[in-house]
Amino acid sequence: MTRYLNLYWYFLIQRLKVLMEYRLSFILGASSTIVWQASSIAAVWIVMQKVPSLNGWNYDEVLLVYGLVTLSKSINHMFADNLWTLGRIYIRSGGFDRFLVRPIDPLFHLLADRFCQDGVGNFLVGLALVIKSSVDLGIDWTPSKLLVLIVGIVSGGFIFIALNLITCVSAFWIVDSVPVTRLVFDNHLFAQYPLSIYPKAIGILLTWVIPYGFASFYPASYVLGRDVGNIAWFGPFVAAFLLFIGYRFWQFGLKYYSGTGT
């Protein structure tokens, strides 16, 4: 385990060295995500100047939800972005075989091979939004609220990664897994706003099927003192469950790949 941590750190350092060389791209990449987010938030701000309530949530409360999902998303964006490229870049070219010939876990290798700097933009935006909204809302921080928040962000990040993993495994069969991953990933956009504004079906989708809701809505509800019940604490269990499924599915895909050689 420590060996893998050391190794990851080394991969990361190397990657950062490369990124520093391409400084302009680095900055543009990080800024482009910031610009995208700023556009959406500006729109929300303008609208909520006129109508201060979104289904009972005020502007800062909406920002908290938005910020939390962005923060969770950024964890996936920074550390697991390479999953998207499994098919298009590694399997299509045969480069994945190199991973199988090295004495480390191929999934680890795939993840460690590329830290994505664009995710840093998302991280900064998410962090800024969560901090700004918390301060403006004057939340009374109890230890349990703080815990829910941190647990929510971390487990949210793992939920994103797990769903990303589950969908990218399709690359072992169809090579281009990007459309499949997009199909699931884009649903996180629902979670940018409080789930209560959507019809029940969507709420169920985002809680029990593609559970991005645990990255933003449930932790936010708890922190804001809204009555959500114990579901606010389910995040880590959902994340663990999905990661388990994701890894088993990955092993299944790997077995298929080594059986057919694509």
């Binding site: 060996r3 050391n6 190794l7 080394y10 991969f11 190397q14 060295k17 490369v18 060389e21 070219s93 045969g94 480069g95 075989d97 190199r98 199988l100 010939v101 090295r102 004495p103 480390i104 876990d105 077995k255 080594s258 059986g259 057919t260 050689g261």
Partner: protein, 332 residues
Amino acid sequence: MTVIEVKQLTKVFKIPKKEPGLSGAVKGLFHPQFQNKTAVNEINFQLDAGEIVGYIGVNGAGKSTTIKMLTGVLMPTSGSIEVLGRDPHKQRVDNAHDIGVVFGQRTQLWWDLALIESLNLIAKIYDVHPVKYKLMLDQFTETLELDELLKIPVRNMSLGQKMRSELAAALIHAPHVVYLDEPTIGLDLIVKERIRDFIKAQCISKEMTVILTTHDLGDIEELCQRVIIIDDGRIIYDGPIETIKKRFGKFREITFETVEDVKKLDLPNGTEMLSTDDHKVQIRFDRTVSTASKVAAAVMNQIEVRDFSLSEPELSDIVKQIYNGALEREAR
């Protein structure tokens, strides 16, 4: 000491049968049909430590399938493989520590990293002891002349530089078994020579075992004492290069330089005229039917010959014959 042992190794692929056209594609979606393709069919061979073996065959013969199974990437359908006492698929990680692989077309180095950074990272991945690493690095820097290359990223390297770097990367962790797939492809003669010399030297000193798959028969002739030929999933030859040349090198060529242009010649049995132009006549004869002196005498009786030369059988011709089924004909 046996390093690689392959017993009754078989790989069968299920290939989807595709019908042409749009309706075929739709049918394929709902009722996919499969057919079995046996890429590797119950092959057997053994490699001892220190051997350099050439593994050759036409495209689609089963070469890369075999190598993929040996390296642990592909799971066999049946049969067994033992590399250094391990099953390469079941004990993938342990096996990986002891092997080095060069895929001729695809580099394992990181595109944007300076060579030295790539090597450092690889050394970390393979858990090479720092002292050992420094030793290997110094040695390779000298023998492969990597001094100026260490600071350059792969993307800025020429093909020859890339290949030298690739070899260093594959061997930096001192593997006992090395798989080289097309290591000299696209390289000019001088670089090829250097690389061949390097590989030879490594094997003498390191007790390294090498399997070389390549279409470049010059590599084979230079490096390998033993050749395994695979065709249509089966091994059709496994033995020294010399034997092949002797057994199948039954054709020889004599090139005559003539005073006048020759149109036609009366030739003895087992001979054929390959070409005639520009005061040169090429004649090929079957050693088992005729002799060099018989052919030379026949030709010189008919025309005035200024000079002539006799050529040895080329491995590529021999291999071509074997590909064309000469072995089977021989056996009959």
